[in-house]
């Protein structure tokens, strides 16, 4: 019991006192210690007289002060230097974390969790990239954005232009436009409006506006598109090489037609006609004769309706 109390009291001795006591016990002067350690006498005195102040004011860099204390204690045979709190203050924070940390070895669960997390992330990135690419490459998206922006403009701005169009052709168009239940696809608004509105006259406008109020509706779905087919008839008076495409790019006729042959075609207007001998063929668009003077011996390229 008395030994324990004695030990406890010894532990409470400040480090500077312990060093001084050790030096005196070894019968060494300050000069002797300074000489042995190659230090200035003032350093030894600082350590022995005011170690706390020296530590607090950082009068010497920690690494050096710690080294001086180690060398001093070794010189006088003080073994338990690390037990003094003043010395511990000089140790770096990393010293407190004793021992070498082992490399982290993952458990099976951690590995699976990481894998699934990365796979999920990659899937998400792939999805985002896919959607972006699809949106960029899809022709509908570009038309939709352009069409939606110009849909209203087309209707409002083109109406005055249409007023001066041909009366005969417009009547036909109006009949079709005026049919109940005709739907104009939003996506095709630009192209269909260009073809139909060019031929609409004032009367037609009234009819169109009246029918559009009742039955024309603009939808987003491309599936509801109704393409209006029109007829084209060619009567050949002589041999004529002929090639005809409709608006969708479909080739309706191709080849050499002879005298007396008649060609009846139906397709989406406008039709692109290429006639090798145009004077040898009478062209009827919607059963009406297309009148245009062609030069003999010259190929004719033209569009119907013009």
């Amino acid at each position: 019991m008395s030994d324990q109390i004695k030990d406890k009291n010894e532990q409470q001795i400040p480090l500077e006192q312990a060093l001084k006591d050790g030096r005196l016990a070894a019968q060494l002067s300050v000069e002797d210690i300074a000489l042995r350690l190659n230090l200035k006498k003032t350093v030894i005195r600082d350590i022995e007289d005011s170690l706390d102040t020296v530590i607090a004011e950082a009068a010497y860099p920690k690494v050096y002060l710690r080294g001086y204390l180690v060398n001093y204690s070794k010189e006088i045979g003080l073994d338990d230097l690390e037990s003094f709190p003043q010395y511990q203050q000089l140790l770096g924070p990393e010293k407190s974390a004793t021992g070498l940390k082992n490399p982290h070895i993952m458990t099976y669960d951690e590995k699976s969790y990481n894998k699934s997390l990365i796979i999920l992330l990659l899937l998400f990135v792939a999805m985002v990239v896919g959607v972006t690419v699809f949106w960029k490459t899809s022709p509908d998206s570009t038309k939709a954005s352009a069409g939606s922006a110009s849909k209203t403009d087309n209707v409002e701005m083109r109406l005055p232009e249409t007023a001066s169009q041909d009366v005969e052709t417009s009547t036909l168009d109006i009949q079709q436009q005026a049919q109940p239940g005709v739907q104009i696809e939003k996506n095709n608004a630009l192209s269909s409006a260009q073809t139909t509105q060019q031929n609409v006259d004032n009367n037609g406008l009234e009819a169109l506006s009246s029918t559009s109020e009742q039955s024309v509706e603009i939808t987003d779905s491309p599936e509801k598109t109704v393409l209006t087919e029109q007829t084209l008839t060619l009567k050949f008076k002589d041999e004529c090489w002929t090639e005809i495409f409709d608006a969708t790019g479909k080739r309706l006729a191709f080849g050499l037609y002879t005298k007396g042959e008649q060609l009846k075609l139906a397709g989406t207007p406008p039709f692109n006609l290429k006639l090798g001998n145009p004077i040898a063929a009478d062209v009827f668009y919607q059963d009406k004769l297309y009148k245009k003077s062609f030069r003999a011996g010259r190929t004719a390229n033209f569009k119907l309706p013009e």
Binding site: N38, P61, Y64, R66, G67, Y68, N71, E94, I118
Partner: protein
């Protein structure tokens, strides 16, 4: 691009690629790897492949069958075998990363001897890149050691550090984050082992292996005469008889054996002090020099240097890890201070 993505799952590393040991420091985690720089290579029909790395490989040193070769790819602080070094680094980098799914691609700071040539530095850089590093920074070992030891390198005051590694001893005087003087001598722990092996062969007529020599060094070696003499019993093969023999060595014998490498280190330190500008030399004389590296643990080496130079000599706290820790601290400074403390290479 993909390397950057992998980099998001990797830790920045500071690697002390030493001749004897490789240490890796990870930010916020400290030293996470301390393994011998040894690789065991197995040679079979399909060519060479790595059999073991680090401690496992070191255990094989001198005890391998014909088809396995235990190699130390670093010699004198620089790469002696490029391919093996790359494999070793690759193994260590992978070992310190949690992510086993994706190959890590960290930013790596490698500590290099200040006396290494441009070719040797390039070899280290290429080796680290080959091991999967995203970016490679090089820092001089004495600078890293000084930072790791806690020396005031940024102050306008001379600080002298002596880093005694496995292959080289680096002496440097640092001030204002820069190296004012540095020297590197190819003397280190390996030379101590070699000196012990030679001494035993010369005086006892026996050969001992590197592992035994290293054990002797750790147990009884001293650099300055002391009263407390230690002894160790070792076994070696008698050269004349060709049979194993047992004999006892003491500290004084090892001190005698180590005279040559020790005098080399003392000479390097004295040369550094001579060549240091007077103002900085005065600072060093007042506050002393700091010893780091595994060689600093050689008993009474600080006293030897103190007696020879007449200035205080301090052994750094945890000298073995100073370089790796200092490299880690320097790595953390990249974003804040730029590459001020780094080597420009």
């Amino acid at each position: 691009m993909f390397k950057m993505f992998r980099g998001m799952f990797s830790n920045d590393l500071s690697i002390d690629l030493g001749t004897a040991n490789t240490l890796i420091y990870v930010k916020d985690q400290g030293i996470v790897l301390d393994e011998p720089s040894v690789v065991a290579i197995r040679m079979d029909k399909n060519g060479k492949r790595v059999a073991a790395v680090g401690t496992a490989a070191k255990l094989m040193l001198g005890k391998t069958p014909g088809n396995i070769q235990a190699i130390r790819p670093m010699k004198d602080g620089v790469i002696a075998d490029f391919y093996i070094t790359e494999k070793m680094l690759q193994h260590f980098i992978k070992q310190v990363h949690n992510n086993s799914f994706m190959r890590p691609s960290p930013r790596v700071l490698v500590c290099v001897p200040c006396g290494s040539t441009q070719v040797e530095r390039r070899a280290i850089r290429e080796s680290a890149m080959g091991a999967g590093a995203r970016d490679v920074f090089l820092i001089d070992e004495p600078m890293a050691a000084a930072i790791g030891a806690g020396m005031p390198v940024s102050e306008a005051k001379g600080s002298m550090v002596v880093d005694i590694g496995g292959g080289t001893t680096e002496v440097a005087v640092i001030s204002l984050n820069g190296i004012v003087y540095s020297a590197s001598v190819r003397i280190g722990g390996d030379k101590f082992d070699e000196a012990i092996i030679n001494y035993v062969r010369r005086n006892y007529g026996c050969t001992i292996g590197e592992i035994t020599a290293e054990r002797i060094k750790h147990t009884i070696a001293i650099a300055y005469p002391i009263d407390d003499i230690k002894e160790i019993e070792v076994r070696g093969v008698n050269v004349a008889e060709g049979v194993p023999r047992s004999f006892t060595l003491n500290s004084n014998e090892i001190l005698e054996a180590l005279q040559e490498p020790l005098s080399g280190i003392v000479s390097a330190v004295m040369a550094a002090l001579e060549k240091t500008p007077p103002e900085l030399a005065a600072d060093i004389a007042e506050q002393g020099m700091v010893l780091t590296g595994g060689g600093a643990l050689l008993c009474e080496l600080d006293r030897l240097l103190s007696e020879e130079s007449g200035i205080p000599v301090i052994v750094a706290d945890d000298p073995l890890t100073c370089v790796a820790r200092g490299g880690g601290m320097a790595l953390e400074m990249i974003d804040t201070h730029g590459g001020d403390v780094f080597n420009g290479d």
